[in-house]
């Protein structure tokens, strides 16, 4: 549930506000696919966890594993992209578009109606 659960640890010393799109570095992952190991994949996993595509983990690694591939496929399905499971250019460009902070998947249930996408694929 979205309850008040954390308060800044530094109430009188706020960290500086980032001034650039925090997801631009995902462009460095373009072309990455299953089995590869590339710096930045852990950050992508954090992103996919934030929006419900990957379960939480104590430490995300920079390995393109089967869980990441499945998460990317679900993401591609939700956004009407070609379902390749790879970080193709179209997927990366979609990932960096500003968005609502509400997750797309909650407790394993997608809040995005996927029937439209399924129908289009058929």
């Amino acid at each position: 549930a979205f309850f008040s659960s954390s308060v800044s640890a530094f109430p009188f010393d706020f960290p500086p506000v980032p001034t650039e799109n925090p997801w631009i570095p995902f462009r460095n992952l373009s072309g990455c696919r299953f089995g590869e190991h590339r710096p930045g994949l852990a950050d992508l996993k954090e992103y996919l966890n934030q929006f419900g595509y990957l379960p939480a983990a104590p430490n995300f690694t920079n390995s393109f594993d089967d869980n990441l591939e499945a998460a990317i496929k679900t993401y591609q399905r939700n956004f009407g992209l070609n379902v390749t499971g790879e970080l193709d250019d179209a997927t990366v460009e979609q990932l960096i578009v500003p968005r609502c902070g509400m997750p797309d998947i909650i407790n394993g249930t997608s809040t995005m109606n996927s029937s439209f996408v399924r129908g289009r694929n058929l």
Partner: protein, 201 residues
């Protein structure tokens, strides 16, 4: 369109919702402009449904509270500065609607002609987040207001068929509703997600 797990909604006897703009010190937008923008955003949803929205100056009297915040702001969902996450809102009947104060919000004028290449249209984001406040989840229909992403320098404020069908299934239809704008025709079959959550992140 889709709903949150458990399909949380406002109670059927609560059709008149009050909202308060409670935290604006982090942005330099004039309060009167904010009032106009949010009133227009709420109006787009009330035009399609039986719900009505009234602004109140008293947060304690409000069902919905709207505020601009930087970074960590006490709900466990910190904002991330320029772009990235723009805003978030809570499902019924929580009523909290938070916007990232770090964004280059455009509340007046034509956002497509904005000088800044990171300009974000405030009303577009407001219409989307109000959808969450009322119980709609994200939609995979790109034309829908409830699609999760919005590009910079883009204005998207008209409800699509997909949004209208979703909200009217929850709250009924406004008899005076004249339909969606011709360019907003995204539609899909109804889908209600099952699940145990009544509130969501």
């Amino acid at each position: 369109y889709a709903y949150f797990p458990g399909t949380p909604t406002w109670p059927s006897d609560k059709t008149e919702l009050k909202y308060a703009i409670t935290a604006t010190s982090a942005v330099s937008i004039d309060l009167s402009v904010l009032k106009t923008v949010f009133a227009r955003a709420f109006g787009r949803w009330s035009a399609a449904t039986t719900l009505t929205f009234t602004e109140t100056d008293s947060p304690s009297d409000a069902d919905i509270t709207i505020g601009f915040y930087n970074g960590s702001h006490g709900d466990g969902e910190p904002f991330d500065g320029v772009l990235g996450t723009l805003a978030h809102a809570f499902s019924p009947t929580d009523g909290r609607f938070h916007l990232d104060a770090a964004e280059t919000w455009v509340a007046e004028g034509d956002v497509t002609q904005a000088d800044s290449d990171v300009a974000v249209d405030l009303e577009s984001v407001a219409v989307h987040e109000i959808g969450h406040l009322l119980g709609l989840g994200h939609s995979s229909v790109a034309e829908a207001i409830m699609y999760p992403t919005i590009k910079t320098r883009t204005r998207k404020v008209d409800l699509a068929n997909d949004d209208v069908e979703g909200i009217q299934n929850l709250y009924g239809s406004n008899p005076n509703f004249t339909g969606v704008a011709p360019s907003s025709t995204g539609s899909s079959s109804p889908e209600i997600n099952g699940g145990g959550l009544g509130s969501m992140a």
